[in-house]
């Protein structure tokens, strides 16, 4: 049985008087432990698809089922809880909380999930160690390099042991060497059974995935 089932998924936006069909009916499945790269030109609907998979947007038509739940039909409170328990987000611009240390950033989703302080502190250390930042836990984002910030963001995304890790251009802000390190980290994560869906323009990252979904004009053109 698939971890993610996407059926006839569509998303329209309205810009002034015009309707923009960002996604025009997409269907695919993703199995547990899969590593999928969604690729295609800018404006083809990759990020829209990722937002719908991540339950931060609602489809105009169609369904997304993750672990047999339909986040698209959930109310805000339920969708928030769904994201907390099932989705790990990694953004292009890292989006760490600037006032918190690396460890506190990783602890944030765990605190929201109600984990006790000692428990979340131990897990945050474990995750930072996993991404190679054991010695940087007390550092603020402004004291970390771009690659290090992205590693912290990955550790944060893994905090609540999500069903899927969603990454939107995770190497987009990094130089080639640091990007390669992040790609390697994703490979390691997938080898450890983390399901990863990544939206990217980066050929290296796309090649590292086990499966590639090519999109154009809001539809899947090749897989």
């Amino acid at each position: 049985m698939s971890l993610v089932e996407v059926r006839d998924l569509a998303r329209d936006y309205r810009f002034g008087a015009d309707d923009v069909h960002a996604l025009r009916g997409v269907t695919f499945d993703i199995a547990e432990g899969d590593y999928v790269a969604i690729v295609g030109p800018s404006g083809c609907g990759k990020s829209t698809l990722l937002n719908l998979l991540g339950a931060i947007d609602k489809p105009t038509r169609g369904t997304v089922r993750i672990r047999n739940e339909s986040p698209g039909s959930m109310r805000d409170r339920e969708a928030t809880l769904f994201r907390l328990r099932n989705i790990g987000f990694v953004f292009q611009r890292f989006y760490l909380m600037p006032t918190l240390s690396a460890r506190e950033n990783v602890e944030l989703p765990m605190a929201e999930a109600g984990l006790k302080s000692a428990e979340r502190s131990a897990r945050a250390r474990e995750l930072l160690s996993y991404v190679g930042l054991a010695q940087r836990e007390r550092h603020r984002p402004s004291e970390l390099s771009g690659g290090e910030q992205q590693r912290v963001a990955i550790a944060r995304a893994l905090a609540n042991k999500p069903a899927i890790l969603l990454a939107d251009e995770p190497t987009g802000e990094l130089d080639a060497k640091t990007g390669a390190e992040i790609i390697a980290l994703f490979g390691q994560l997938n080898a450890d059974r983390t399901t990863i869906i990544v939206v990217t323009h980066d050929d290296e990252l796309a090649r590292a995935a086990r499966r590639r979904i090519h999109m154009r004009d809001g539809v899947i053109v090749n897989e």
Partner: protein, 393 residues
């Protein structure tokens, strides 16, 4: 984590947070001072009237005590009439006048009160003894400071100065028996006390008084006693503390309205200050807030975090404002103590805990409310669209 994030956010812009706290403190201080002023004068006046337990004052018909030079005639007969009422337990007739005391090359002019020392309610004895005999006088500290006299000295006291003839109608030697503090004395006012009969004789106001102070039994109905006096002695007005306060209220109504308006403005300014600051702070952090929402942080927790920030600012500001308000009130009281015609014991700014806590509580509540709307608005933004806009920005 909510508290930690709120604290971290406040520390992120330390100067801005401190300035906001200072702004709230100034608004809180002004609000507190206005509340103290709007009720302080009345309460202070009430406490002063009640300080010696006299619940009633009798003044010439249609006047307030010492409001005019009018006097009440037939003091003896009135005292006899008042004694017919069993509820009345003390009667203290008082006659006010002016005396002139030549000391060295100068002549000092002083107010004087003729009282019955056994029942008087006009002064506290600081040292020495009451002026019980006809040739005795007690003086206040301002008199001592101005003239250089001391208890035991004999001074020449004159009354009834005729400016054309430059003569006095009466003049006699009197012994200073004590130093007194007048309860109703104005600042820097030279004042003395003598036996009532002495003042009546020297002022040529035989059997007359400026007012009577009346004490009734604790279990008696004061208003009933007041009504009885006005029926029994038609040529006087009897004032209870309640009716005196009504008169004070009428005279101070503009004063109170002004304090109310300024207090409301202070509250509004405090509210606007916190709202503006929180709104600016939230707008700066829309990206962070949206990311937190994407990570699964609930709207409620985001609102809590920002409301806590507003609370810290308003509560710290209110606490600092309390101290600042008390200091400024004390300073202003010092200035206003010399207000002409008002007893020095009157406080313009009287700290009343209930009113103070209520006003500062109201300010704190408004500060807390100030954080709710901007935080809820930010937490309710569409996550995907906001993240895209933030990325473009």
């Amino acid at each position: 984590m909510v508290l930690h994030l709120a604290w971290a956010s406040l520390r992120r812009h330390t100067s801005r947070t401190l300035l906001a706290i200072l702004g709230v403190a100034v608004a809180a201080a002004m609000l507190l001072d206005m509340v103290m002023m709007s009720t302080g004068l009345r309460e202070s006046f009430r406490e002063l009237l009640m300080s010696r337990g006299f619940q009633l004052r009798i003044a010439p018909k249609g006047t307030l005590p010492f409001d005019t030079d009018a006097t009440i005639a037939d003091v003896g007969r009135i005292v006899a009439t008042l004694r017919l009422n069993d509820d009345i337990i003390a009667i203290s007739p008082v006659l006010g006048s002016t005396i002139h005391v030549p000391i060295g090359p100068r002549t000092f002019t002083s107010a004087t009160l003729g009282v019955n020392p056994a029942v008087q309610g006009d002064y506290d004895l600081v040292s020495g003894r009451d002026p019980a005999a006809v040739n005795e006088i007690a003086v206040n500290d301002d008199f001592v400071s101005a003239t250089g006299v001391k208890v035991g000295d004999t001074i020449q006291v004159s009354t009834g100065y005729d400016p054309q003839l430059r003569t006095y109608s009466d003049s006699r030697a009197m012994v200073i028996t004590g130093r007194v503090r007048f309860l109703y004395g104005a600042a820097n006012q030279l004042a003395t006390a003598m036996n009532l009969s002495t003042v009546q004789e020297m002022a040529r106001r035989s059997d007359k008084a400026s007012l009577f102070m009346i004490k009734v039994r604790d279990d008696a109905d004061v208003e009933e006693a007041r009504a009885w006096i006005e029926r029994a002695v038609p040529q006087v007005s009897a004032l209870s503390i309640a009716t005196a306060l009504e008169q004070v209220d009428q005279r101070l109504s503009y004063f109170r309205q002004l304090a109310f308006i300024l207090g409301t403005v202070s509250l509004f300014v405090g509210f606007l200050l916190v709202t503006t600051l929180i709104t600016v702070s939230v707008n700066e952090r829309v990206g962070e807030i949206t990311v937190m929402r994407a990570l699964g942080v609930s709207k409620g927790h985001i609102v809590q975090q920002i409301v806590v920030e507003g609370m810290v600012i308003t509560l710290s500001g209110a606490a600092a404002g309390l101290a600042l308000g008390l200091v400024t009130a004390r300073y202003l009281n010092g200035i206003l103590a010399s207000f002409p015609g008002l007893p020095v014991a009157i406080d313009f700014f009287l700290f009343q805990p209930k009113a103070a806590w209520m006003s500062l509580g109201l300010l704190s509540l408004s500060g807390i409310a100030a954080g709710v709307y901007p935080s809820w608005r930010a937490a309710s933004l569409p996550i995907a669209t906001t993240l895209r806009e933030e990325a473009i920005a």
